[in-house]
C-alpha cells in the first residue's frame, strides 16, 4: 500500500509534467438556501487540473460531485470562490466546457447529425457548410455511428444515444470535457464498450477531462488521478490518488496490473469510511 501515490506528483506522469494548468478552482463554495436555513454543499474546495489531464471524481450520492461539475460548466451559480479555465474566470456556460450529461439529452426532433450540427455551427461559424458537415460526420464515425447520421434519437438505443452525446461534446473541440456520470444509465456491457470508446477518442484529442462516477473500476480505468470527495454537508476533497498506468490503456492490461487491486481497495476503503 505504501507504494500508492496519494499526493499529486506529476513526476510519475511524465506526459503531464510540463503541461500548463488548465483548470483551477479556488475556495469554491455552494450554499443552497432551505426553509431550515442554509445548506452548505461545498466549502472551500480547491482543485487544480493540468492540460490533457484526465481526472475522475468519486464520492457518495449527494456529496456535491454533480454540483461541482455543473459549477465548472457554468450551469450553476457559485456562492463563493472562483473557477479559472485557461486563465479566464468562468462567468457562464460556454462551448469551451462541453458537458456529457447522464441522460443523453439529445434533441429528439433532430437527427444525430443535426444534433451535432447545432453545436458545430456555434463553434465554427466561419467554416463552410461542407466543412461543418464533415466535422459532424467525422465524430459520428468515430463513435461508431457511421451509418446512422440521419436517425433520430428515438430510433437509437440508449447506448447509441450516449455515443451521439460523446460525439457532440468532442465535436465542440472544448478546452475541458465534463462528464457527469456519463454511463450511469447503461447496462454494464454497454458501459464497458463506451469507456473504451471514450478513452480511444480522448487519447487522440488530448482534451482535459473531468468525469464524475460512482464506479470505482471506471474511475481507475479512465483517469490519471482519482479525486475522492467527502460526504456533505461541507464536502471537500478528502483524498487523491494518482493512477500512473501507462497510456494508451486497454482494459485487460489495467485489470492485470499488479497494483490494480491496491488502488481499488484504497478507493473502496475511502468510500466505506
Amino acid at each position: 500500500m505504501e507504494a500508492l501515490l496519494k499526493k499529486v506528483d506529476y513526476q510519475v506522469m511524465p506526459h503531464l509534467e510540463d503541461k500548463p494548468v488548465m483548470l483551477e478552482c479556488q475556495g469554491l463554495k455552494k450554499v443552497y438556501p432551505t426553509p431550515k436555513g442554509d445548506y452548505v454543499v461545498l466549502d472551500d474546495l480547491k482543485l487544480t487540473i493540468k492540460q490533457s489531464e484526465f481526472v475522475s471524481i468519486i464520492g457518495h450520492s449527494g456529496c456535491g460531485k454533480s454540483t461541482l461539475l455543473t459549477m465548472i460548466a457554468g450551469l450553476n451559480e457559485l456562492s463563493g470562490g472562483k473557477i479559472i479555465v485557461d486563465g479566464l474566470e468562468v462567468r457562464d456556460a460556454g462551448p469551451d466546457r462541453a458537458v456529457v450529461f447522464q441522460s443523453p439529452s439529445l434533441l429528439p426532433w433532430l437527427t444525430a447529425q443535426q444534433n451535432l450540427m447545432i453545436g458545430v455551427n456555434q463553434v465554427f461559424p466561419h467554416g463552410s457548410k461542407a466543412e461543418r458537415v464533415e466535422i459532424c460526420k467525422y465524430y459520428l464515425d468515430k463513435v461508431g455511428l457511421g451509418n446512422d447520421f440521419n436517425k433520430r434519437p428515438s430510433e437509437l438505443s440508449q447506448g447509441m444515444q450516449q455515443r451521439v452525446g460523446l460525439a457532440r461534446a468532442f465535436a465542440l473541440k472544448p478546452k475541458v470535457l465534463l462528464l457527469d456520470e456519463p454511463f450511469g444509465m447503461l447496462d454494464s456491457l454497454t458501459r464497458g464498450e463506451l469507456q473504451d470508446l471514450l478513452l480511444e477518442i480522448w487519447q487522440k484529442e488530448q482534451i482535459t477531462a473531468i468525469a464524475i462516477t460512482h464506479d470505482v473500476d471506471e474511475s481507475i480505468f479512465l483517469a490519471d488521478r482519482v479525486i475522492m470527495m467527502t460526504s456533505g454537508p461541507y464536502a471537500k476533497i478528502g483524498d487523491e490518488l494518482v493512477i500512473p498506468f501507462e497510456r494508451p490503456r486497454n482494459r485487460k492490461d489495467v485489470l492485470e496490473h499488479p497494483d490494480y487491486y491496491d488502488y481499488r481497495s484504497y478507493l473502496l476503503n475511502f468510500l466505506n469510511h
Binding site: 460556454g94 441522460s103 434533441l107
Partner: protein, 365 residues
C-alpha cells in the same frame, strides 16, 4: 405494402380495419377475424340498437301526442271531430300531424329532401350564372361589380359557410394564442402578471364574447359592403376557442426539459436560436394538443354564435328551421345535429393525425 397500408389507416384513424388486412393477407385468420368483429361489428350492432331505441321512443311519443290531439278534439268539438282528427292523422295529412321527436325514417326522408333541395338550388345557380354571364361581362368592362346569385343558400352551402367561419376563427386563435403563449411561457413574471386575465376570461360564455365583439366591430367597421356578420362570428369563435392553445403553449414552453435548456446554455445559443431551435420544437406536442382542443371548442361554440349573430351557416339553419315550424323542421334539425357531430368528429381526427405527426417519440421516417 401491407405494413404501409396499415400505417396509413392508423394515421387516418381507421385503425379498426387493421385486422381485416391481416386476415386478407392470410395470417392467423381466426384471431384476426375475432379482432375485426370486436373492433368493427360491435360498434355497428350498437348503432342499430341506438336506431331501434330511437324509433321505439319516437313512436311512443308520436302515439301519445296523437292520442292527446284526438282527446282534445273530442272534448272541445265532440265525438265527430275526434273521429275526423283520427282519420286525418292516419291519412298522413300534413296539417294535423303530431309535432314531436321525428323517427329515424323521417330524419332520413328529411336528409333526402335537403339533398334534393341542394341539387335544385345548384341547378338554379348555374342557370342564373349562364343567364347573367353576358351582363356580367359588360358590367366588368364598365368597372361595375358583377351580379351575384342572392337566392336562398342550400344546406351544403350553409355547411361550407360554417367551415369557413371555423377556419377563420381557428387561424385567428392560433395567431393570437401561440405567440402570446410562447412569450408568457418564457417569463415567470409575465405569467404571474397575466394569469388572472387568462383565468377570468377562459370560462366566459360564447354569447358574451359575441356581444363584446359585436360592440367593437360595429364601431370599427362602418363600410356597409363588408360582411360584418362573418367577421363578428369568426372573431368570436376565435376568442372563445383560443384559451386552450394559450394555456397549453405557455405550459409547454415553461416546462421544456431542463437538459435541453442546459444544452442551449452550453452552446451559447442566442435568444432567437433558443426559441426557434430548442423551446418551440420541444413544446410543439403540447401546442398541437392545445390546437386540437381549440378546433373542437371552435366547432362547438360556432353553432351558438351563428345562431345569435345571424350569420349564415349551420347555426342559423337550425334556428330558422326551429322558427318556421314546417312539417319536417324537426327532422331537418336532427339531420343538422348529425352533420354537426360528424364534421366535429372528422375535424378532431384530422387534428389528431397532425398531432401524432408532431410527437417525436414515435420516430417518423
Amino acid at each position: 405494402m401491407k405494413n404501409k397500408s396499415i400505417k396509413t389507416l392508423k394515421f387516418l384513424g381507421l385503425g379498426f380495419l387493421e385486422p381485416l388486412i391481416h386476415m386478407i393477407d392470410g395470417e392467423e385468420r381466426r384471431k384476426n377475424a375475432t379482432r375485426f368483429v370486436k373492433g368493427s361489428l360491435l360498434p355497428l350492432v350498437s348503432i342499430f340498437l341506438f336506431i331501434f331505441l330511437w324509433h321505439q321512443g319516437a313512436m311512443a311519443l308520436y302515439n301519445s301526442e296523437a292520442k292527446e290531439r284526438i282527446e282534445k278534439a273530442r272534448i272541445e268539438q265532440g265525438e265527430q271531430a275526434a273521429l275526423d282528427m283520427k282519420a286525418c292523422i292516419e291519412s298522413g295529412e300534413v296539417s294535423c300531424q303530431p309535432n314531436t321527436l321525428p323517427s329515424p325514417a323521417k330524419v332520413y326522408q328529411a336528409y333526402i329532401a335537403l339533398w334534393q333541395d341542394h341539387l335544385s338550388i345548384s341547378q338554379k345557380k348555374s342557370e342564373f350564372k349562364e343567364k347573367v354571364s353576358e351582363t356580367n361581362a359588360q358590367r366588368e368592362a364598365q368597372g361595375l361589380d358583377p351580379i351575384t346569385y342572392t337566392g336562398r343558400p342550400s344546406f351544403l352551402d350553409q355547411i361550407g359557410t360554417s367551415l369557413k367561419t371555423v377556419a377563420a376563427g381557428f387561424l385567428l386563435a392560433m395567431l393570437i394564442a401561440v405567440p402570446i403563449g410562447v412569450v408568457i411561457g418564457l417569463s415567470d413574471s409575465l405569467r404571474t402578471a397575466f394569469n388572472w386575465l387568462i383565468q377570468i376570461f377562459k370560462p366566459v360564455s360564447p354569447v358574451v364574447w359575441l356581444l363584446l365583439v359585436f360592440m367593437v366591430v360595429k364601431t370599427v367597421i362602418k363600410d356597409p359592403s363588408i360582411d360584418k356578420s362573418f367577421i363578428i362570428s369568426s372573431i368570436s369563435v376565435g376568442l372563445c376557442a383560443m384559451w386552450a392553445t394559450l394555456v397549453n403553449t405557455s405550459m409547454g414552453v415553461s416546462s421544456v426539459d431542463k437538459d435541453y435548456l442546459n444544452v442551449a446554455k452550453v452552446l451559447k445559443l442566442n435568444i432567437g436560436q433558443n426559441i426557434f431551435k430548442i423551446v418551440l420544437p420541444a413544446s410543439l406536442p403540447l401546442i398541437f394538443t392545445g390546437l386540437r382542443i381549440t378546433v373542437s371548442v371552435a366547432w362547438m361554440v360556432l353553432i351558438a354564435i351563428e345562431l345569435l349573430a345571424q350569420s349564415p351557416g349551420l347555426g342559423s339553419f337550425v334556428w330558422e328551421e326551429f322558427q318556421n315550424g314546417g312539417n319536417d323542421s324537426n327532422a331537418k334539425i336532427i339531420v343538422a345535429m348529425f352533420v354537426i357531430g360528424i364534421i366535429g368528429f372528422v375535424l378532431d381526427r384530422i387534428m389528431l393525425s397532425v398531432q401524432n405527426l408532431m410527437t417525436f417519440n414515435k420516430g417518423i421516417a
